[in-house]
Symmetry: C2
Subunit: 175 residues, 2 copies
């Protein structure tokens, strides 16, 4: 938990849980009070549209945090499911730190930097979804997740990119 401790301090409530492959750890529609830090394994967050189709929002492998801060801070039901892709060791930590425990200026500043990084990555994702070709999106996916291509099924990468598995297969063939 060294990485977490460094950012959030030692006083946060956290516990380690072990999940099998394909277990749901967060459900759409509930207020989310926890963050998930991947110690080992691979998880994904995704939304489900009104036709029941899944759209992958992000992946989280070792040392990534997935958390719906807005759901926690503003008590909104989360729009995202989280599910394990591989058997995973997850540190589940309370997002209460946001309101209470982040008591020093230094921790608040570190936290602001993390929040800003997140804003940057989301902004790039929006611009990507609006204005990039499928090929450019795949390049950005490789930059964001350099270690993941061989750990993910083709159809999940396609879902993240918002393209068909066939289109992805063509792009990979051309590289």
């Amino acid at each position: 938990m060294d990485f977490l401790t460094e950012i959030l301090g030692t006083e946060i409530k956290a516990s380690i849980k072990y999940f099998k492959k394909r277990e749901i750890i967060q459900k759409q529609g509930f207020v989310s009070k926890n963050g998930f830090y991947v110690k080992k394994g691979l998880i994904r967050s995704y939304s489900v549209d009104e036709k029941g189709k899944e759209h992958i929002f992000m992946f989280g492998a070792e040392e990534w945090i997935i958390a719906d801060l807005e759901s926690n801070v503003f008590n909104k039901p989360t729009q995202l499911y989280i599910e394990t892709i591989e058997a995973s060791e997850i540190v589940i930590f309370s997002l209460d730190y946001f309101n209470h425990d982040l008591s020093t200026k230094e921790k608040l500043q570190k936290n602001s930097i993390l929040l800003t990084r997140r804003i940057g990555s989301l902004q790039r994702r929006v611009i990507q979804l609006m204005s990039s070709s499928a090929k450019q999106r795949y390049e950005m996916f490789l930059e964001t997740y350099p270690l993941l291509p061989n750990r993910l099924p083709q159809k999940m990468i396609a879902s993240y990119l918002g393209i068909t598995p066939e289109a992805l297969s063509k792009i990979r063939g051309e590289r």
Copy 2:
């Protein structure tokens, strides 16, 4: 500048500038060290793809802030142009507050809340772009910008939604 002062404190460097309709106030490719608070008027931020097509990232009317925090904090060239849609009165403020002036715990906490709101709105935008129908996107546009539909040309709303002006016209007709 009351709203700004409340969030950022009194010590931030800020100046008011007046722009005509359709003036560019930020260019893609440069590191952005300023935030823009709309006192009066209407602005938009947008990216331009490799074919020269524009994609509207967000609109800003009275009391909105448009700022590329990631560009400022991490010295990355911004991906976004900002342009006035109407003649506008803009408070241009230095984003240095992020590193220096946000000196109290209280201000850092207020800032964290603003950053979290931004994360929430970007997250919703990503999920919307991935998994919502054109009609749902238009509903969300109306929720986000209830006062703007009559101030914006049809083609700009369509660009924000990522649909054709014809598709937008059809949706508006059906409502």
